[in-house]
């Protein structure tokens, strides 16, 4: 979930309210599903103070910026919805003073581009930092680490219009990227520049790479990797900037540019349009003026909303709630609610998505909890009931119940147990080798206890009931989960006879007839280990643990142990 840092003065100014009480601030943030993460009010100047806020809604990128979050809080309080007249749409044509030409050559690699120009006031330090943060959050979280969306910011003064967006041979084009002083080809950037290395996977192996140049052919940027050190460096004090968004997902590209444009408008910039002329057709036409409003109206019946919320709202109440959320909503028949999504939002996938905005607009405190009335019978799973019975028997035999993690190392689960790791379920992308395998037996856990508990008074008698993962080529997943009981006794006289007596008592009390058959499991001493058979089927094993297992775990006390598949015992 994205976390942003906002400048206190800037944020309060945009929200139109100054908070001093943390609790009240936290309360107000809930309408944006935002949580206060850090706000150190002890620092001196509020001009310098920053607030860290976590945004929970991954589908509302408009809230991941100072202006966007402030807008939501402001609208909720004032019920006034800002207007952004600079948006073109299918129904509204606008003339644009700037133009970007998108060539066919880029269609196969990174086809979509949107952009606009912001003017009218010099960029302050706080503002610049905020813009960079918004740019990064959008590209990283919403833009899937720049694959879907990336954003470039440029100083207008240096650009010769129109700007060109085209596909080029990555070995034939070179320029000086930001954070560098030498000229590099695109492929050199991917191999050597830190940003190139970080995002190389998006372009690697493509014959053609995207490039943005001005009319004179000077490079603006190499989307989505890096800007040029000349035309692509924005500084504090710049008053006219060009912002472009490129990517593989058109609605996300258009939405990101809309979010940035609305944010800058809220902060007092004039927004000017950019006309993007594609050499190919796009869902918004081949010549599109950005910022572009592409969202469709959505609607939900009031009855559906009331049914979902358990409420009995009148139409007026529902519309007012939506207004507080910043949504232009209306109804023509008193039954169906129509919503025109705001320019900066595209999260209405289903009509029910409107219902949540009604809920927040009305206020959570207005919904009184209702005691459920449906009668249902509660019950545990059969295996849980059976396991509890098994546990009570084993506890009666003097065993201490243990519980272990299910992930571990090949060393503990296989090597020390004297078995091959072949049969174990292995993780393809482990974080560390300590958590690389899923266990196939409770015994390594019980042995781990022995290895760290030599000082605990003997006898040690331990058991665990828990899951194991076993490979099974017959199964759809090739792996099945089973509920096992593992048990171990360790003391100077621990031997086969003891564990055999305990298994006998256990099986008798469970009402299970069983036979034993000599087994040959490398974890146990040969000739002192048996498979447990119920109706001819193998349900487990017990015996004396092999001294090589004990040695591997650093255990100097004899151990006898066993494991049984409780799910097999439960059957029939």
């Amino acid at each position: 979930m994205p976390k942003i840092e906002v400048n206190e003065e800037l944020f309060f100014g945009l929200a139109g309210k100054t908070w001093s009480d943390k609790e009240e601030f936290e309360e107000d943030l809930t309408v944006a599903k935002a949580e206060l993460d850090e706000w150190d009010t002890s620092l001196s100047a509020d001009r310098e103070r920053t607030i860290k806020i976590e945004l929970n809604d991954t589908n509302r990128p408009d809230l991941w910026s100072t202006a966007g979050l402030a807008r939501q809080l402001r609208m909720y309080r004032t019920r006034s919805i800002p207007s952004y007249p600079f948006f073109a749409s299918r129904k509204k044509a606008l003339k644009a003073p700037y133009r970007v030409m998108v060539e066919k050559s880029v269609k196969g690699v990174r086809p979509w581009l949107a952009g606009f120009v912001a003017k009218g006031k010099p960029i302050s330090d706080a503002l610049l930092r905020d813009m960079i943060q918004t740019q990064e959050k959008l590209a990283w979280n919403f833009g899937r680490k720049r694959k879907g969306v990336s954003i470039g910011i440029y100083r207008i003064a240096l650009i010769e219009w129109p700007v060109h967006y085209r596909g080029v041979d990555p070995d034939k084009v070179s320029f000086v990227p930001l954070q560098e002083t030498r000229t590099m080809t695109l492929n050199q950037i991917l191999e050597q520049h830190p940003k190139g290395i970080e995002y190389a996977s998006i372009l690697k192996g493509r014959p053609v790479h995207p490039l943005l140049t001005d009319a004179k052919g000077r490079v603006l940027s190499y989307p989505p990797i890096i800007n040029s050190a000349d035309l692509g460096a924005v500084q504090v004090g710049d008053a006219e900037i060009f912002i472009e968004v490129t990517g593989s997902d058109y609605p996300s590209v258009a939405l990101s540019s809309a979010i940035m444009a609305c944010d800058l408008a809220d902060m007092g910039f004039e927004i000017e349009n950019v006309q993007v002329d594609y050499e190919y057709d796009t869902p918004f036409g081949s010549s599109v003026v950005f910022p572009y409003y592409f969202q469709e109206e959505v609607s939900v019946p009031l009855d559906d909303a009331n049914r979902l919320l358990g409420s009995s709202l009148e139409m007026a109440g529902a519309l007012e709630a939506l207004t507080r959320m910043g949504l232009c909503a209306y109804s023509t028949d008193g039954a169906l609610i129509h919503v025109a999504p705001p320019e900066y939002r595209n999260d209405f996938l289903h009509p029910f998505d409107i219902v949540e905005d009604i809920m927040i607009g009305v206020g959570m405190e207005k919904f009184a909890p209702l005691r459920p009335t449906d009668f249902t019978i509660g019950r545990l799973t059969p295996i849980e009931r059976f396991s509890r019975k098994a546990k009570s028997i084993v506890v009666g035999l003097g065993y201490q119940e243990m519980i272990y993690n299910y992930l571990g190392s090949g060393k503990d689960y296989a090597e020390k147990m004297q078995i091959s790791a072949e049969g174990l379920v292995k993780i393809a992308n482990p974080m560390t080798e300590n958590y690389e395998y899923v266990r196939n037996s409770p015994l390594p856990g019980l042995m781990q206890t022995e290895s760290v508990s030599a000082k605990a008074s003997y006898p040690h008698r331990t058991f665990e009931v828990g899951k194991v993962a076993l490979k099974d080529s017959e199964a759809n997943y090739g792996i099945v989960t089973r509920q096992y009981i593992g048990f171990l006794t360790s003391h100077a006289q621990a031997d086969y006879n003891e564990i055999a007596s305990h298994v006998a008592a256990f099986m008798y009390l469970l009402g299970k007839e069983y036979t034993v058959r000599e087994s040959s499991d490398s974890r146990f001493v040969p000739g002192r280990q048996v498979d447990v058979l119920v109706d001819g089927a193998r349900v487990g094993i017990f015996g004396e643990l092999h001294p090589s297992v004990l040695e591997a775990f650093g255990v100097m006390m004899p151990c006898a142990a066993g494991e049984l598949d409780l799910e097999m015992l439960l059957e029939d």
Binding site: K33, T58, P372, T376, M402, R461
Partner: protein, 520 residues
């Protein structure tokens, strides 16, 4: 004056000494054994207890010398001395060379040499022309038989002869055989033991008075034995009172694990609220773990670094239909769910990718196709996360999740359930609800509670399953979905502050752990 409880606490051995001797008497082991018939060890036990009580004090200390049989001495006693055995051998076999003797008796040359020397000196043996030992006399002379007598005497005294019991001749003989310490080739070892003489202090009379007043004899009955019960001998005596303040010996009981018991208590609580338990595979597919929950395949939370992928096999053989097609359609364009979908090409290969279940909601999704209406289901299941393990993160841990299906369930009944969990499961006094976000629910609610000890914290997340989720899995009624975090409550209930401790392998700490939670 000695009070009765102090007198009552005396051991019978102590009582007997106090009654048999008077203040100022000097006693030692021998005297006590002789007079009271104490067995070895009993005297020393009684002395140490009485010294501790101040009834006895050390009066004098003398060193006594004992001759103890060594293993060699014991062997000589059992099988005969080398002298004796060579004598017998020669008598039976006639003349033999010294090496032959050594071989037949299993002696080394040195032993045979010195024994032959001793026999020659006494004129019992001689060497003939072919250098064979021959017997010169038919019986052994007295000096050689004395050694045998000494060994017998020592064996009769438990292998230990006091120096004071030896005649001057025996002492002289012993000087040949006994060494001070360690010598393996000697039959006797010299041991010095301190003999302590004790004096009864004036306190002894005080005890005696108290003991007499109580009618104690030292003959009181100790442990009640089956024999005593069988013969009824207990009827003739009185029972010795025990010291009841002695800390009891530790026993190690078999017992349940307190963390598992805590989880069980939550399960029982949910069952009591009408929920039926579900369970499932630890290994799951991307389909059930995320796709069925309407998380777009490009979602940032579905990164390689957020779930654990299985190395082999990599993919499930199939995903159950019609759910695969319906879910794919919901992602692509909404299908029949009323949604416009995520508008991308659903990857039917990726959806079969095997992973370790990362959220308990998988099981809620899997339950939907077979769920009853109305129905309530829950599970407390192990989930796996790509997290660095520390005090607040584990790579595998329990999640508590569930669903409620019903014609008439809605946001307010959801809040009703959350309130019920907050009060019944978490023991909360105050509850508040805030809007939340989960990809699979709309609307989504977080529930925060004010816990009597922990203060305000987020108990869980919940919502109403999106139609893209419920309808794709064959459910047309609203489905409330919820998950509650019980780890913090578990830590508190067990007096811990590190999640790793919940799964501790340390036996002693698990044995000693006590749960402090109250079942509501």
């Amino acid at each position: 004056m000695i009070d009765q409880s102090a007198a009552r606490a005396l051991h019978p051995l102590e009582v007997k000494i106090i009654l048999a001797f008077s203040s100022g008497d000097i006693i030692d082991s021998a005297r006590v054994r002789e007079k009271l018939g104490f067995k070895e060890g009993q005297d020393q036990q009684a002395f140490s207890w009485l010294v501790a009580k101040g009834v006895l004090e050390e009066a004098d200390r003398q060193t006594e010398v004992f001759y103890e049989l060594t293993p060699l001495g014991q062997e000589w006693h059992d099988e005969g001395t080398p002298v004796m055995r060579i004598f017998s051998l020669l008598r039976e076999s006639g003349p033999l060379s010294l090496p032959d003797i050594a071989q037949k008796l299993g002696f080394d040359q040195k032993t045979v040499g010195s024994a032959f020397g001793a026999l020659s000196k006494e004129g019992v043996c001689a060497m003939d022309a072919p250098r064979r030992a021959v017997l010169a006399r038919p019986e052994l002379p007295q000096p050689l038989l004395d050694t045998e007598a000494l060994l017998d005497a020592a064996a009769a005294h438990d292998g230990s002869l006091p120096e004071t019991s030896l005649t001057p001749q025996q002492k002289a003989l012993m000087a040949q055989y006994a060494k001070k310490r360690g010598a393996q080739d000697a039959p006797f070892r010299i041991a010095e033991r301190a003999k302590v003489l004790f004096r009864l202090t004036p306190l002894a009379s005080e005890y005696r008075e108290a003991v007499t007043a109580l009618g104690m004899t030292g003959e009181e009955l100790g442990a009640i034995t089956p024999e005593m019960l069988e013969k009824g001998t207990w009827k003739q005596g009185s029972f010795r009172p025990y010291n009841l303040q002695i800390p009891p010996a530790r026993v190690i009981p078999g017992r349940r694990n307190p963390y598992v018991e805590f989880l069980d208590s939550v399960k029982d609580k949910l069952v009591s609220l009408g929920f039926e338990e579900f369970d499932g595979n630890m290994v799951e597919t991307e389909f059930w773990n995320s796709d069925a929950l309407f998380m777009p395949q490009f979602h940032s939370a579905r990164d390689i670094h957020d779930v654990y992928y299985i190395e082999e096999p990599t993919h499930a053989k199939f995903i159950e239909e019609p759910y695969l097609s319906r879910v794919a359609a919901a992602h692509e364009h909404g299908g029949n769910t009323g949604s416009r979908g995520w508008q991308y090409q659903f990857d039917r290969d990726f959806t079969r990718r095997l992973i370790l279940r990362s959220q308990g909601t998988v099981l809620s999704a899997r339950q939907l196709p077979k769920a009853k209406v109305p129905g309530k289901y829950f599970g407390i299941v192990r989930c796996f996360r790509y997290d660095r393990v520390d005090a607040t993160h584990l790579s595998d841990f329990y999640q508590t999740e569930g669903i409620v299906l019903g014609e008439d369930v809605n946001l307010r009944t959801l809040l009703g359930f959350l309130e019920m969990f907050a009060v019944e499961v978490a023991g909360a006094k105050e509850v508040k609800y805030v809007p939340g976000y989960f990809p699979f629910t709309e609307p989504s609610i977080e529930v925060h509670i004010k816990h009597p000890v922990l203060g305000w914290f987020e108990l869980g997340g919940s919502g109403i399953f999106r139609p893209e989720v419920a309808r794709s899995l064959g459910v047309d009624v609203p489905v409330l979905a919820w998950g509650i975090g019980i780890d913090r409550m578990a830590l508190m209930a067990l007096g811990l502050n590190d999640l790793r401790e919940l799964f501790s392998a340390d036996l002693e700490s698990v044995r000693m752990r006590r749960s402090q939670y109250k079942i509501q």
